[in-house]
Symmetry: C3
């Protein structure tokens, strides 16, 4: 009866979906039909979302038949049993059951909750492979396995307690980790066993998963793979339109440390997007410059397969985003050339710290891409700029950008030197005292200089976002203010010390 | 002649409005026709807006005839004289003339300027009644009649003056009050008599109203009712589409104290809304999950009548928004269970202060909803989540959220304890000294911890808005920084006091 | 062959552009056809953009034939040779070749890269003339030629260096200037000669232009004209739709110093725009209130030609935006009446400083518009408000706005008096010491009060943007906090000085 009901609902609502007359021809596997029997009622939101997806409206066989540049699947071949039906619930959630620690018996099926990039790779292997080279896919480990970043995390999201010596920060709770840093970086999922729940259909068992829910870019999955395609290709429509619009990137790139969305939205490019987007085609593959869109979104410059009006390839699709990026403008603490290896935990600077630059700004060069690779990536990126701008425009922009890298790195150097004088004179306790270099009030002002304001300044420069984000909106205005405040603070301490000869400024807690 | 002109304008422009061929059939009352005679020319903006509204395109009789779940009017019956015509100017602005202090003679009519929820209740009594139980409808009194909040207001929006002892803050001017706190909370309107103005049609009398204009949620109207439906159902289209889109809520929920819009806009839900909204139906009543929309807006979770794809009710419509909210995450100064009574002026904490929590975080429990009510409200809300997410997802999210309430409350506790040490050691003058506890520089840093950063952190958590707003964008990064700064400030004062033995740190002005 | 290819591309893609069947009739000059031959392939983005522009889809002759209020060209006559073809590449980029320093030989043509308002004036002379009276057109000189602002720039965007006496700020690099202040204000372009570049078509010469790229509002062009029409009418669609949507203004008005976009987006007007914009006509000329839109955008109030539903003019088009603005709410350091002359470099306050107000708030009255002019401009602006709001609404709003000007000016006065005490007591070095009055930490806190928070407060007031931006989001909350911090800082210095008798607080570097 439920199945009958579903049939009515399914076919009855087809007219709602543009173009679904054709879609009505797409067969659904028997397994997926069983899923839909219940879930169309239990979870109507995601089922409706899926029904409007390309996964529901084509078959892998048809997808394979597209012309090379128009192909959205990259597999040479796709398993026979998946070829001639929609990519539905069962197609993804019952793939590779032995590989997933969360596979459980559900109705007649072996279902896993968390679909991973390795599942998606069945049809999209090139993208999965590229993404595994994307530094984002290592976002969990690159943060969690870096001892210095652990101290930074502790100072920011740790649990505070009052000791006789002042505030101390214990490691953050898993709950807080999951909704802060690891919301974007991805959590490490862990299968904790099955739980029996009462449902409308009687008692059923479901997996209990630590770190769930999460859709962070570097999530550690239950098949030990890394990342979540759903971070950008949001379930269950997995829409290329959504991945190409900047709101997706905004989910993790809006704060003052990485204000890409804010800068974009107030740039000329962002203005054109905001004004004209209803007229653009966000679904076309390949994506034709000028015809499908007249200004870039994030995806245009960083990911998408682009062709010009002659159909010539302007940029190959990449899911390893730094193939188009010579510089990593996120300061650690200095902007630097992109790391060679997406796993950055092995990087050591000349002081032995797990940082891509030394505290004096020297890059840990052997871990970073060289000048030739940078030149190549710069050329790949600029090929896109040149679709609308001439050489002198692009070069003029780029010169300013690299000058800003240099200048903001110099700002970081000066601020860091002040901080080092503060540490060396004992007014704060840093690494040399085996203390957390990020947790005291003055250390946090130093963090502001490079983690917030130098970063915002560089994003504004890189994206030609100009004016406000380069100055008053978390830019140089605040950067220089904090630099001067650091100096003032040091002078005050010196003055106070002179007056109160032998008194330590703070007993530091580990 | 003007009337003739209006007829031409009215009918001549009908083709502009989609579907107005039908609308052309809707009769307009003679009174409203008289209004339109002049106002279509004098105020073309609002007249055009009204013409595109449902009020202009249907009759109450037709509205009453809708099927139960599709009904937009909740009255059992509507006065005969209103039944068979559009809801036009006169229908609202001449209702209940004796009840409105601003009723004045205008042409041949008794007109009042400010339409109130009690007027709207003629057709929408259930909504008006629910709204009267909404804490928002008491927003004026809850702020204006709370002696402690009066001190907070004075410190923030008061008029500064320099006394020999330093800056003092006098109460804010009515103009400033009206465009700051009371812009959202609502002003108290007062009829001050009539004013004669020269108009194109000769001398005419118009009411003078103190506190006007205003459309705040808790406005005290001239019929002594509370609130303004136009806060969300913007005049004169009163569009359900507008009320359901998040831009309406943004009008009052964008600052760091209540950053709901910012968090939403950078959440997964907000991303889906921003990308897909053109394809959604924002006018359907009831609102069908999956079919009409594929991700929630503010209204979805907090207000709207939702049904699933079987037409079963998922959530009843409510205009008392906390029927779906167990916790009030806005810290006063701690997050707490929602108040039982929308009038919060009677609440007293154990210290006798008009606050829902004590300064040590203990809730003023007898004024707040109990665990059973919280459980019920949580279930009501989660029923919506479960339309797209499974139990383990929803529970995982909720566990994190409640942990964040606990942790941010603990942050507030630690910051408040530091502040109390500062007060008790005489470095600032707080309540015990009968001084304003919010006006000194250090007290304002304490305000930052709970009023801005703990609040932003909780909004990010509640709405699964994740990453940035939980950390660098007004979240924990800043919260912990201020906590440490408070500590540092206290240490500095102690040190300075030791050096300058008998000198008071500040002469406090009341 | 390329030309043939282009023909195919051009006509083949016409069906993509709405209404291009007609457009196909528009002839393109032979010169422009030559440009397109190559550039359609080399720069497909801008060519596609242009093809969708009105410039490509009409002829000047047709444009001249429009009814007066609908005319988009303001020239009485247009040169014969331009009349009967599209306004294409060559029409603009080869105009007045002798006037442009960057004119170079390109193929068979004398081409200049930078099209200026004087070029646009061929068809749009009234707009170009009005714009030359717009204070924006002088944005470069008003900043660059003001000695006091030079010190402000140096403190904010200058290059820091460490001297024995502390941080010193050298003048900013041209690269940094170009992507900060002058990104919006406009750069001064300078032709530096020709450069030979290898291209797909062999070696070619191109001009080298200092200050390029730039599209700031007060750019100094290579024909010595001022400004860039492309700042708002973005190349190469030059769309009136884009200029009328607020995203254009956001490019330069989003920071806390001039947060017009943020305030708008959270105002009632912004809410209506965000919700309803798809239904509005952003291209209609004239722009009919109520019919084409139901809430104002930036352009509505400040620029556009508006008519009411009777076709009567509500506001004449102006490209001198302050014809509708009595007050300049951007504090320098106080809000003041608008300057008479758009070139503000000649203004001197009573102390001889190049500021429109004295440090005690007295306006430099003889350089500013008088009360009669202000009344006239106020009336011009309010005529627009009155299309949707009645007199009492508008007056009520305006009273609050002017009260806020008064009150925030008083805040600036108090903060400035504290700063003056700090200078006079030698705790910081200001103008009297011939030092930069903006570069020390405490001076930067003073800057915050008037440059960021008083400004944001005034924008929130002016645009009825209310609540959050008037208080917690860069408004009074932060303004009063900084005022109190200034006071606290002074008290601390006094106390420290008392303890350490003869020690200078800081050795100041010039």
């Amino acid at each position: 009866m439920k199945r009958l009901l579903w049939g009515i609902v399914f076919f009855g609502s087809l007219w709602l979906v543009p173009g679904t007359f054709a879609a009505a021809q797409i067969p659904v596997s028997e397994a997926t039909e069983t899923c839909l029997d219940c879930h169309a009622t239990i979870h109507p939101g995601i089922v409706a979302d899926w029904k409007q997806s390309r996964h529901a409206q084509t078959t892998p066989k048809a997808a394979l038949a597209a012309k090379p540049l128009a192909r959205k699947v990259s597999a040479q071949s796709i398993p026979e049993n998946l070829l001639n039906q929609a990519v539905g619930c069962a197609e993804c959630h019952t793939l590779r059951p032995k590989a997933h620690a969360d596979t459980f018996d559900h109705d007649e099926f072996k279902v896993h909750v968390v679909v991973s990039p390795k599942d998606c790779a069945t049809c999209h292997p090139v993208e999965a492979d590229q993404y595994s080279q994307n530094i984002m896919s290592h976002a969990w480990g690159n943060l969690a396995n870096n001892s210095l970043y652990a101290q930074l995390q502790r100072a920011i999201i740790g649990t505070p307690e009052v000791l006789p010596t002042g505030l101390n920060f214990k490691p953050a709770s898993p709950a807080t980790q999951a909704e802060t840093c690891y919301y974007c970086h991805g959590t490490r999922l862990e299968f904790k066993g099955l739980q029996t729940r009462e449902t409308d259909l009687g008692e059923m068992d479901f997996p209990v998963i630590d770190g769930w829910p999460n859709q962070g870019v570097g999530r550690i999955n239950l098949d030990n793979s890394r990342g979540s395609c759903a971070a950008c290709h949001t379930r269950h429509s997995f829409s290329i339109e959504m991945a190409r619009k900047p709101y997706t990137c905004k989910e993790c790139h809006v704060g003052p440390d990485v204000p890409a969305f804010k800068v974009y939205a107030s740039s000329k490019h962002g203005n054109i997007f905001s004004t004209m987007k209803q007229k653009w085609d966000f679904k076309a593959v390949p994506w034709t410059v000028g015809q499908d869109f007249t200004a870039p979104t994030c995806a245009t410059c960083h990911i998408s397969l682009l062709v010009d009006s002659d159909g010539e390839v302007v940029a190959e699709r990449t899911h390893q985003m730094n193939t188009r990026l010579p510089w990593r403008i996120f300061g650690l603490p200095y902007a630097h050339a992109h790391p060679i290896n997406p796993d950055t935990t092995t990087i050591r600077n000349k002081s032995g710290l797990p940082l891509p630059t030394d505290l004096d700004g020297t890059p840990a060069a052997r871990f970073l891409i060289d000048a030739a690779t940078r030149a190549e990536r710069q050329e790949t990126l600029q090929a896109i700029c040149l679709q609308c701008h001439d050489q002198s425009w692009v070069q003029g922009h780029w010169r300013r950008f690299e000058k800003t890298l240099q200048e903001t790195n110099n700002d970081t150097l000066l601020a860091t030197q002040t901080m080092q004088r503060i540490w060396s004179q004992g007014f704060a306790q840093g690494l040399a005292s085996k203390a957390n270099p990020f947790d005291e009030a003055v250390e946090r002002r130093w963090l502001d200089t490079w983690l917030l304001y130098a970063n915002t300044t560089r994003f504004a420069s890189a994206m030609a976002g100009g004016g406000d984000y380069g100055v008053y909106a978390d830019g140089r205005y605040h950067l220089r203010k904090r630099m001067v405040e650091l100096e003032e603070w040091l002078r005050l301490q010196v003055k106070l010390k002179a007056a109160h000869a032998p008194s330590s400024s703070k007993s530091k807690t580990k």
